[in-house]
Amino acid sequence: MTYQKFFHPEESYSRSEIEALQLERLQATVRHCMDSPFYRERFRQAGLTPSDIRTLDDLKKIPFTTKQDLRDTYPFGMAAVPLDRCVRLHSSSGTTGNPTVILHTQKDLEAWAEAVARCLWMVGCRPEDVFQNTSGYGMFTGGLGFQYGAERVGMLTVPAAAGNTLRQLKFFTDFGTTVVHAIPSYAARLYEVMCEKGIDPRRDTKLRTLVIGAEPHSEDTRRRIEDMLGVKAYNSFGMSEMCGPGVAFECPEQNGMHIWEDYYIVEIVNPDTLEPVPDGEVGELVLTTLKREAMPLLRYRTRDLTRILPGECPCGRHHIRLDRMKGRSDDMIILKGVNIFPIQIETILMQFQELASDYLITLETVDGNDAMIVDVEMKDLFIDDYAKLQSLTREITRQLRDEILITPRVRLVPKNTLPKSEGKAVRVVDTRKKY
């Protein structure tokens, strides 16, 4: 069966068509933001009214929105529609400070599904494909986000969710899975278990396409995963504040991720001066939503560092391309696709009277999977009893798991043994293999 190349007409828009649509949607978004108590006050303080936004360049007059703003208005202070029009929320993990909440109307969910579907269609997913999602479902947006997008494409979906690798492999062979969504470290894990079980991915499965994201990885990692599994692997970029997956995605050229400019206005700024950087230079990604009802965000500082790839893409799409994420302009850790701030760990540790104030978080690769070790210094007075030390370790582990949703390995260490640099404690060491 033959299909059209583009999932939506907007996907093939020229630059001038994209920019005209952006201005129209920006002005509508700004007007709509006046229904949000947060933005109404922001505009009032800045002495701005929606009519001040006449060109795309006028966007720069609007103050930035930060994650702290989302926390301060937790849970519903940013909403631009009444709650009875919202049908779902997604929330970040953690109880430290306030988590963040993103609200969605039915129309938001549809727009999100369309964006994910466009991404999947772009890399060749078609209704005859079988799509298996190894993301956690629930609050983690990689689950439901890909689920709805894959259904929109018309694929047969297998919502396998995270973990249970043997069952994942059984689904591959029994259901003839052709497309898989997995974080890169889990893709490597799948291959390891295939080898252990004598499964040859090329001979015994129909796997063809892999969608990888939510975890920083290098070009070498991608090539290795492609060689191992005999697939084409495409990089996916999203974040819960921008719904989740479907923000930017690689095309078959595999050279940068097209970010959908009919959904978002992209700015790259110097994180210190907040001034725009020239195209091609690395800075912090700032996004303005153009298609969101429940919680539009204006100039949201994502804290992700990246750059815009200059030049035209041979694929024929004119939506700009983002390079791989180069890191963060804050201290957020991304582990197994879960976002964690060191302060969440610190807050838990400091509740234990047996512990001193120094700790070290080590991220490493174990059996192809991300793992976290938390070394924490004991205070001088401690218990002369292994059983009590073990139950202390277990209790710390349990409380950390409840907070960050990942089970770290907790090690008690004597005081004054953790490394310090220039008097300031080193809190995070990342030794993960980038494959």
Binding site: M378, K379, D380, L381, F382, D384, D385, Y386, L389, R411, L412, V413, P414, K415, N416, T417
Partner: protein, 142 residues
């Protein structure tokens, strides 16, 4: 009727044991008995030594995580079955033992143990005429 024991918290890492022992050596402190169990990440190095108060101060000043506690040291004849009889006595009274180790000193066996029921254990030791070594006697035995 107890002796003092140092408990040193050390990492399971080469060099950590040496560091503690060298600090004691520098102060001319003599070891009488030591024990350490093999665990994954850390160990508790338990030490009976001469001048335990001085040893505690030295280690503490050097930034070593250390504590000082009282443990029982029961002197027994160096004959088969002595330990069995002693422990049976405590077990019969429901006194559980947190940990135990032993050594030989001047032809006598010494059983060192710690229990959370210290008063009850002390009563039993007196009423059954067991010989519990005192801290002040310990250095005399060296």
């Amino acid at each position: 009727m107890t002796v003092q024991q140092l408990s040193v918290f050390i990492e399971n890492k080469s060099g950590s044991l040496v560091r503690v022992l060298r600090l004691l050596k520098q102060e001319n402190i003599q070891l009488i008995a030591t024990t350490i169990a093999d665990t994954v990440d850390y160990g508790i190095f338990r030490i009976i030594c001469s001048q335990p108060d001085k040893a505690y101060r030295v280690l503490r000043e050097a930034g070593v995580a250390v504590s000082l506690c009282e443990v029982f040291a029961i002197e027994l004849d160096d004959r088969p079955g002595q330990a069995a009889d002693a422990i049976e006595l405590f077990a019969g009274e429901g006194i559980s033992i947190a940990y135990l180790y032993s050594f030989l000193l001047k032809g006598k066996g010494v059983l060192i143990f710690r229990t959370d029921h210290a008063e009850k254990a002390a009563g039993l030791i007196s009423s059954h005429g067991l010989h519990a070594i005192e801290e002040k006697d310990l250095s005399l035995l060296l």
